[in-house]
């Protein structure tokens, strides 16, 4: 999704974790210190993966999902703040973003279960276990509780961004002022600026592989960019390939109308969350949001209908600043 053109880094450090490759590009003169800082940043990502990985039965998230209906589960301040942020995006996106989609993701085959299409009754049953309104957060005790049995948080939509934000904190604590971090090329975070330019140059690939060049070039200085593409991960259910983005409002994967949603903002956690929300809600959501979250810009690529439900007229791209106003983008190539 994303590629970057940077001045040659003084040190690059990488690690496989969260199901992808995280990389940190660092700039400075003290190689030993850079290496230690880069490793510490990636250690932080690994630490968070161990805590938030839904696939690991021994992760903290698995512990939370296991017990939160039976009793309140205490959270550390970072995780509490993360879930509060997710609830905020859930509300502002009118439900297009929802971290309680765990049961639905399993039901539709995105979490290792069989690929049978769920029957309507099953989905309806699972919908009882879905909904951020069924989460109870208690600030005084810093705990979370589920109101329904069988609920499960799935933080995959924000985990990479959250991990990058924390990794950047580690770098700052180590006195690092310039760095570029990414998690699997779907989220990139810039710390400061490159040594010889006012910003890093990040390319957003066109979701239509037949086009040449990049869809858009984004300049990033001290901020984050996330890209969500519904068909980047798929599962086959009942002979049909479906994208991995779940629409929590209907309990099913989104239609392929949204090709790509890219969001740029100060925090990678927020850019991750909103790119997912817009990947689900698309242009309609964009037009409704207004100025809920300032300093958020980006673009959405959506299929355009010619009026007949069966006919598509090719993708349109909308650019937004502060979610408002929405402008059509001519799709200039670089």
């Amino acid at each position: 999704m994303l590629g970057s053109k940077t001045t040659c880094a003084d040190l690059r450090s990488a690690r496989y974790t969260m199901g992808t490759r995280f990389e940190v590009a660092l700039f400075g003169k003290n190689f030993t210190h850079l290496q230690a800082a880069g490793e510490a940043a990636l250690d932080e990502v690994e630490f968070l993966n161990d805590r938030l990985d839904l696939f690991k039965p021994h992760s903290f998230l698995s512990h939370l999902n296991r017990w939160a209906f039976e009793k309140p589960v205490r959270l550390d301040p970072d995780l509490f703040a993360l879930i509060e942020l997710c609830l905020g995006v859930h509300k502002a996106s009118e439900g297009a973003f929802d971290v309680t989609v765990g049961p639905l993701m399993a039901q539709w085959g995105f979490r290792g279960k069989s690929g049978d299409a769920p029957v309507v009754k099953t989905v309806a049953g699972d919908m009882k276990k879905v909904g951020s309104d069924k989460i109870e957060l208690d600030r005084a005790s810093r705990t979370i509780r589920f109101k329904e049995a069988g609920m499960a948080l799935d933080l995959n939509a924000v985990a990479k961004g959250f991990a990058l934000d924390r990794a950047a904190d580690v770098l700052r604590e180590a006195g690092i002022e310039r760095a570029l971090l990414h998690g699997g090329t779907s989220t990139v975070l810039a710390l400061g600026t490159p040594p010889d330019a006012p910003a890093w140059t990040i390319g957003v690939e066109d979701p239509d592989g037949t086009r040449r060049g990049l869809l858009k070039v984004v300049h990033l200085a001290e901020g984050a960019l996330s890209v969500s593409s519904p068909l980047s991960h798929c599962a086959e259910t009942a002979g049909r390939v479906r994208g991995h983005l779940m629409d929590p409002r209907i309990g099913a994967p989104v239609s392929s109308k949204i090709r790509l949603a890219a969001v740029k903002t100060a925090s990678a956690t927020l850019s991750d969350a909103w790119s997912t929300a817009l990947g689900v809600g698309g242009i309609d959501l964009l037009k409704k949001i207004g100025n809920s979250f300032p300093q958020v810009t980006g673009l959405v690529v959506a299929e355009r209908s010619k009026g007949c439900c069966c006919e598509m007229a090719g993708p349109e791209t909308y650019v937004f600043k502060n979610f408002n106003p929405v402008e059509k983008f001519s799709g200039e190539k670089i």
């Binding site: 199901g19 030993t32 210190h33 290496q35 230690a36 800082a37 490793e39 510490a40 250690d43 630490f47 161990d50 805590r51 990985d53 696939f55 690991k56 039965p57 021994h58 903290f60 698995s62 512990h63 999902n65 296991r66 009793k71 309140p72 589960v73 205490r74 959270l75 550390d76 301040p77 970072d78 290792g112 604590e173 180590a174 006195g175």
Partner: protein, 416 residues
């Protein structure tokens, strides 16, 4: 890929030859409920670096535990830890914490190893239950002093060797001790993880203090900080300790001013001519960490929360093996060790029981907390076990540094 990192997603990807659903299900996980108590337990954390942070993360899982105080001599680390436990009072001196926190009943000690003695003895003499991270100390004298204080104390002591409370290790030990692999003929262990283990410090004054593990003046190196868990596992499984240790070490990758080897090879000689080959490196991650027991009728391998029994072709077949879950590793087929296997098998859910619901560190901590709640007299890692492991680790490091074999004296293993 390191086997210890395998999870359900990886098993599904592995495809043919592997059972596709091999993970701990929610119902199997529910068999491992964390210990609970009606009475709140106030604890303090002394040393809030990397290990301290991991301990704090596990303590969150116990609703009755309240972290009342944090202590560290490094101001930045203390502030970082306070962000994670904002209700805790902070100290930069352990004695001040012990004097100021009379209500604290238990102390978790995770300072640099060479600083354990004074704090551990003070905590025990103050009547606090103590969880002391392994190894106990970097010298025999310090290790004996801590073990002696712990043996005399009325409070509970845990020496940080968390694998002794790990259900998979307990199960694997029962297989070895019951003769499932018959006579043990050889042992192998390793710790492979590429990384400098250096803590970033932009201030030279902090650098030496934070990177104590990289210098001989303050560290017993890889044998002490990593190898000790392997050495103790073998001691515990066999019920024996080595009679001699030998080792070699080099800096193979991280030539950054450290004088502790980043790659070590050790040979531990046990009674009956059994030897353990142990290697540890920070220059390569292949196959991570594991412990292997080779016997005349089979082998047992343990990796964190997973374990397997590999049988020789001429080993007798037991009735229960018909229902066993098996996993294929290239040419070897292992019987997966599953905690609560009998109960799960009765429910027809044996395949759902692979793995454990909590990380390795959790089990040591839970054992300690359960000991306090249930008023036990001893934890899974009592003072003598902690001392024995520390002596082996200290002397193995010494052998590595000197490049020679050291015969282990019985008197080194006596507490009093």
């Amino acid at each position: 890929m390191n086997l210890e990192d395998l999870d359900r997603r990886d098993f599904v990807k592995m495809g043919a030859g592997m059972i596709s659903v091999l993970s701990l299900s929610p119902s199997a996980s529910a068999m491992f409920k964390p210990v609970e108590s009606d009475q709140p337990l106030l604890v303090a954390m002394i040393g809030v670096g990397r290990q301290g942070r991991l301990i704090l993360g596990e303590l969150e899982k116990f609703g009755f535990v309240k972290v009342a105080a944090l202590c560290d001599t490094d101001e930045r680390r203390l502030k970082s830890a306070q962000r994670r436990a904002p209700e805790a009072r902070i100290y930069d001196d352990a004695r001040a914490l012990l004097d100021g926190e009379k209500e604290v009943q238990a102390v978790f000690l995770a300072t640099p190893t060479h600083q354990h003695r004074e704090i551990a003895v003070a905590a025990l003499e103050a009547g606090r239950h103590l969880y002391c991270e392994a190894p106990l100390a970097t010298t025999l004298e310090d290790a004996k002093a801590i073990a002696a204080a712990a043996a005399q104390a009325k409070a509970l002591f845990h020496g940080g060797l968390q694998l002794r409370a790990n259900p998979i290790y307990q199960l694997a030990r029962s297989f070895v001790r019951s003769g499932a692999i018959r006579d043990v003929v050889a042992l192998r262990g390793q710790y492979h993880r590429k990384g400098s283990e250096r803590v970033p410090a932009d201030d030279p004054a902090r650098e030496k203090a934070l990177n104590w593990a990289l210098y001989r003046e303050s560290s017993i190196g890889l044998p002490g900080e990593k190898g000790i868990h392997s050495f103790d596992t073998v001691n515990w499984f066999l019920g024996k300790r080595p009679v001699a240790v030998a080792g070699w070490g080099e800096i193979m990758l991280h030539r950054d001013g450290r004088d502790i080897p980043d790659t070590v090879h050790c040979v531990l000689s046990y009674p009956d001519q059994v030897k353990m080959i142990y290697d540890a490196t920070l220059a390569n991650s292949f196959e991570g960490s594991y412990q292997l027991f080779l016997g005349t009728m089979g082998a047992v391998k343990v990796i964190g929360n997973l374990g397997w029994l590999f049988k020789e072709a001429d080993a007798p077949t037991q009735g229960w093996e018909v229902y066993a879950v098996r996993q294929q590793f290239h040419k070897e087929e292992g019987i997966t060790l599953i905690a609560n296997a009998t109960k799960l098998a009765r429910q027809g859910k044996l395949k759902e029981g692979v793995g454990l619901p909590y990380p390795e560190l959790y089990y040591g901590i839970e054992d300690f907390l359960a000991g306090i709640v249930e008023k036990k007299t001893e934890t899974a890692c009592p003072p003598l076990a902690a001392l024995e492991a520390a002596v082996v680790a200290i002397k193995t490091h010494e052998a590595v540094v000197q490049g020679k074999e050291i015969a282990l004296q019985d008197e080194w293993f006596n507490i009093g």
